[in-house]
């Protein structure tokens, strides 16, 4: 192999690795998106803002000297509670109003959190404290940091946990029943309001983890950081098949890798266009997503 080919392969491996790291973050947010959509068919635009909130709770906890093993659960709890309160106050009264009013409300909540965040926390980006010293492992020309490994590991563990929760426990059975048919689930004695609240809590908590991990990875956070990753996580959820848990992770990884390959090998200014192009292509050619099976609308 000539030297330039070797270098190219190392470059490619670097892009793939960065893509998988970024994709894991998308996947963590997408898991919450896909659960919420699966259970009440709501595109929760404000989901990206739970991720932002998780990052800020983590930031304030770490700055005031709380150790990381306490800050991580704190940001999960905070983001999860915020999601639950939002559901209780705003989405629940609209649950039977149809999909479009719910979508508009979610959009309004997303803008509200962004600008309220800017008013309360200041619009300038803040640098995230370095709590875990970065270690770099080298393998040839390929560099891997311990934070990248941590992000990938966390995503994998949380995905397995969620899969176990939904498929193997009583609560999971109740969730599946609620998403399958709301009214019949209620007749069977399931407290659907509680189950939907819990779904929002788990989704918000996952977004909170993603927020704190991204803070450690990129070292900078700001109140509008949730908008674009939120939309991209939705794209990831649609890409994998909305409502399907492994699909969200697969979609996130595919999206992250695709973005980094385009940025690395072609032009960086089109980074944000990739996600939308993928979304449109998947909606046109395989609307049920990579892992979904198509459904016909019936009267």
């Amino acid at each position: 192999m000539s030297e330039s080919t070797t270098l190219f392969l190392y470059d490619l491996a670097t892009y793939l690795l960065n893509g998988i790291t970024q994709g894991s973050v998308y996947a963590l947010i997408a898991l919450g998106y896909t659960m919420v959509y699966g259970i009440i068919q709501l595109i929760n635009f404000a989901h990206g803002e739970f991720y932002m909130m998780g990052a800020f709770i983590g930031f304030f906890a770490l700055v005031s000297g709380v150790p990381i093993w306490l800050a991580l659960p704190a940001s999960m709890l905070g983001a999860g509670l915020l999601a639950m309160v939002t559901e209780r106050l705003v989405y629940r009264p609209l649950r039977n109003a149809g999909r479009i009013p719910a979508l508009v409300t979610a959009l309004g909540m997303s803008l509200f959190f962004q600008y309220a965040g800017q008013a309360l926390l200041g619009a300038t980006p803040r640098s995230f404290p370095q709590v875990i010293p970065t270690k770099t492992y080298q393998w040839g020309e390929l560099y891997v940091t311990n934070i990248q490994l941590l992000i990938i590991f966390c995503t994998f563990v949380l995905m397995v946990f969620l899969w176990w929760l939904v498929n193997k426990t009583r609560v999971g059975k109740a969730m599946r029943a609620t998403s399958f048919n709301h009214h019949v689930a209620e007749l069977m004695g399931i407290d659907t309001n509680k189950i939907i609240g819990l779904t929002f809590f788990i989704g918000g908590a996952f977004a909170g983890v993603a927020g704190i991990l991204v803070g450690m990875y990129y070292n900078t956070i700001d109140p509008t950081m949730g908008m674009i990753p939120g939309i991209k996580a939705f794209v990831a959820a649609v890409l994998g098949g909305i409502g399907i848990i492994p699909g969200a992770v697969l979609g996130g990884l595919v999206l992250g890798v695709a973005e980094n390959l385009v940025v690395g090998l072609w032009v960086s200014t089109y980074r944000d266009a990739i996600a939308f192009a993928i979304l449109i292509l998947i909606l046109l050619f395989k609307p049920a997503g990579l892992l979904g099976s198509p459904k016909r609308e019936k009267i």
Binding site: P101, G108, L111, Y115, A119, V267, L279, I280, L283
Partner: protein, 288 residues
């Protein structure tokens, strides 16, 4: 005084934007979140037309021609985006149009001819009150006549029930595209008027938030009511200006108030001010 005149002019532009989005969202029921994209297409093509051709024509004629050009270009963009997207329904359509709106903006950022991220400067000031409200009048007339005819009935039937409309023999895809393309075209006209009023446009003017603002205007007035859109656009502008009187800090909270207004409207009065009805003296003999 100049400032107030400028606001009245902007108000006219918002009216055209709101009515054109209402044709798509309110009358046809196809939920689009990418209206700022068509606005941007219109603004950039209209401004390019006047700046790059540089024909020695009187100002009003130049503005008229560039309105026509921007209508055609934005309508073309509407065809290109509408034909693939309108196969989708409901919330998927909303996200896909949002995506296209952002793609349009990213493409403009990457076009160096029109200034890229720096913005398009030195656009002649051709828009004035008369010509802006002339186009507002054209928009009202066009939409009014459209809604009175067969096409308008077909468009409304799609909103009411798409499957039933299709089974009654209405070519739903054709009429959805028609509404989408006409709406996009008029947003283009609003773009040209905006470019020639501000004399400077940049991709920052057409971010996704503006699609949300136009949506707020039509929801405020009532989805499906053109007179409601006119009132909604006016109220939106007045609200923004009224907040300035309370000092700088309140003006910074403007966005929070708009967002809250959107949520509260949905929770408390989802039909807006007028619902689907029109003001009678203004919109004679219209029932839907």
């Amino acid at each position: 005084m100049d400032y107030i005149l400028h606001l009245i002019l902007l108000c006219g532009i918002y009216m055209i934007l709101a009515m054109s989005l209402n044709l798509i969202n309110g009358k046809c029921g196809q939920f689009s979140l990418g209206h700022a994209g068509f606005w941007a297409v219109g603004a950039y093509t209209g401004a390019s037309f006047t700046v790059f051709t540089g024909w020695p024509l009187p100002g009003f004629l130049m503005l008229f021609l560039s309105c026509i050009v921007s209508f055609l270009c934005a309508a073309l963009a509407g065809v290109l985006i509408g034909v693939p997207c309108l196969r989708l329904r409901g919330d998927y359509l909303a996200i896909a149009t949002l995506g296209f709106g952002e793609i349009i903006r990213i493409i403009i950022i990457n076009m160096d001819v029109v200034g890229g991220p720096r913005g398009f400067t030195d656009i002649p000031k051709l828009s004035n009150l008369f010509w802006t409200y002339f186009w507002v009048g054209i928009t009202i007339l066009t939409f009014r006549n459209l809604m009175h005819g067969t096409h308008g009935r077909a468009i409304i039937s799609i909103r009411e029930d798409e499957i039933a409309a299709e089974s009654m023999g209405i070519a739903t895809f054709k009429y959805k595209t028609l509404a989408f393309v006409i709406g996009a075209g008029f947003a283009g006209i609003a773009g040209t008027l905006f470019a020639h009023a501000q004399q400077f446009i940049s991709p920052q003017n057409f971010i996704f938030m503006w699609s949300a603002y136009i949506l707020l205007m039509i929801i405020l007035g009532g989805l499906g009511s053109f007179t409601g859109s006119i009132i909604g656009a006016t109220l939106f502008l007045l609200l923004g200006e009224a907040l300035r009187f309370f000092g700088e800090t309140v003006a910074e909270y403007r966005m929070i108030i708009y967002a809250l207004l959107l949520v509260l409207l949905m929770l408390l009065r989802p039909q807006g001010l007028f619902g689907k009805g029109e003001l009678k003296f203004f919109w004679k003999g219209s029932k839907t």
